[in-house]
Symmetry: C2
Subunit: 424 residues, 2 copies
Amino acid sequence: MGVAVLGLGTVGIGVVDILSKNRAMIFNRSGVDLEVRKVLVSNPNKKREIDLAKDMFAKDIEEILQDDEIDVVVELIGGLSPAKEYIIKALEAKKAVVTANKAVLAHHAAELFAVARKNNVPLYYEASVGGGIPLITPLTESLVGSNITSVMGIINGTTNYILTKMSTEGSSFEEVLAEAQRLGYAEADPSADVDGLDAAHKLVVLIALAFDTHIKLSDVHCEGIRKIDPMDIKFARDFGYAIKLLAVGKKTDLGIEARVQPTLIPLHHPLASVNNVFNAVFVESEEVGEIMLYGRGAGRYPTASAVVGDIVSAARILSGAKSQLPRKFAMGSAVSVKKTVGCYYIRLMVEDRPGVLGEIANILGQNNVSVASVIQEGRAQDQVPLVFLTHEVNYGSLEKGLELIGRLPCVREIANVIRVERGY
Amino acid sequence: MGVAVLGLGTVGIGVVDILSKNRAMIFNRSGVDLEVRKVLVSNPNKKREIDLAKDMFAKDIEEILQDDEIDVVVELIGGLSPAKEYIIKALEAKKAVVTANKAVLAHHAAELFAVARKNNVPLYYEASVGGGIPLITPLTESLVGSNITSVMGIINGTTNYILTKMSTEGSSFEEVLAEAQRLGYAEADPSADVDGLDAAHKLVVLIALAFDTHIKLSDVHCEGIRKIDPMDIKFARDFGYAIKLLAVGKKTDLGIEARVQPTLIPLHHPLASVNNVFNAVFVESEEVGEIMLYGRGAGRYPTASAVVGDIVSAARILSGAKSQLPRKFAMGSAVSVKKTVGCYYIRLMVEDRPGVLGEIANILGQNNVSVASVIQEGRAQDQVPLVFLTHEVNYGSLEKGLELIGRLPCVREIANVIRVERGY
């Protein structure tokens, strides 16, 4: 299947890269063999992070539309025009379209979808909200039988980064914004992010899917985060809340509520621990209750991966039913846990007398078990817990050490040995 | 499209119910009109929570296989036999199969998938892992172009409930298990849950999808939670960790690691705040980084909703490309924020003198704004913050109250009015 990419910015380069690097894996998983045949850019001579053959640059959109070998057109130009016109032309040329363009969807989804239906070709847009987080597909497919009652999302990474930093460092909005601009997390003109417009675009897309209703962008009540003071974050925490820029869509008796605004959310709510540039969408439905989908809402490869998922889905549909079948798996086996390397929590029950820690620590050291932390609590009882957290160790070495420790007269019991995941 | 349901237990009843109740919505969203035509149960005369016409009960599997009006067979019998045989027969009769059966997949996925491919019909299994959480679809479709490096899941609700209660109440495993059994969160024979076997089944399914490799169930290193003592939970927290029963699949230089075991996970890790019966799967990939999918891992309607999502996907494929097109949306509008009801955080900057709180509280009360909490901090400065958290209030009333408050001589500034989401 042939693919054309319109626009070679951050995401476009990522898409071309993934499709080329992972071509065999994608074919093995999906049964579709994808090749980027053409790209369309305004200036083919611009220096880019990717080298493409000269003949891959289409001279105009017509060249792509008329190319019978191109099945899927990927729109990564962004903005309203010419993105909208190109999407419509591609659909009318019976090509599947994949877009990451939240603006064009927020303004024209109903019209674009009608054109897709009329021409009987797929139009996919997983990357338009939440970057690499699977959102559109779960909402469209997994929840197709569910009555969604609300969607609440942290769907702008820049503002979430700023609020997180203000929260952890107590700094002002202006200070953190300046830092975010230095680090490239915020644009020179940050208003689309910090005033909530970016999130409002995405909310319109989410509301359409959740409530089967396309609302106007101007219907979204939109407030940004400029007015949030570190003092507000502190008071909110005193009340038991975090402040997040939430995009909220709700079905109420009055109709659909649609708002993007700084919002207090209880500290125990899963959205409250979504920090830094991470995004998450929390969906409530009558049938499924609460779901949260969490991940990186932006960035070259996360977003490009979502685009590639859409390209594959579209290509599968175009190529007919056969490629929709379950994957082929290799038959394999797992590594024995004894060969694995990890950190461990070890709780021993030991005699409460001087020298015990030394004896045990020596044996651990001799067996290459390096200790990260120890808790020793005297309890004036017959036996007391002695707890270690180790650095990374081969499980075999650990077992050997523990066997020797188990034989020490001062050790009553190796009560628990628990694996530790250090996480990300 | 006709659907047959094998097995009418908790989930089966939920599927029949959702397909009937939400039939029009599903048709509108997907273009497929689904009807349950037959069910297969071992005892048709058993009293059930659902009333079905007598002629809906098939006398045996053959009746379903030979019924040309049945396109999708939903296997909700569970266990290995006759579930496996029925799935194979249905696939060979060219019917799409949807199953929620993690056991049959953990043992026979490779064989079943081969049969599906050979017969060119879909075999879907979203509900087999994580109940209502979209997991299989995102892994299969959205991440098709991504190299997954690890999956870590809390995929057994019973054990997560027990560990959460042990953690919050300091109770022993035995005490909490007994309570969970009373509440119906744990089975009379809890061993499949508490010894990790249920999670191991699901891990085999996740590993197959993540690493394109089917491993044997016996390859999973499997430890349960019986040995965890409240003391361990406390010491883990002292070290900065929570203890969770994690199912972990990792691609390492040595091969695939596959283990289900109690695991220490840093308190700041998103999995550490997955509590009670909630499930979550954390996926890391080279392209997308970290993703977490969170929700209810069991229960009638969450699981049935996942099954219905699969039925729709299968039916769409069987009915050809046309129904894969973008949804039709109604054109709608959102309610004005002024009409909505919510709780608010209000920060005023006021003169630091006696009586100010009373004046302001009076006006709030007169405008039906009920105050939930107040923070008043004297700072011996010209102006001090006075912060309110309100109960639910109509935004219009609040605005009116705030306008009057803004006119008070003691009020220097209405510094911030922030919406509160109370959450779930």
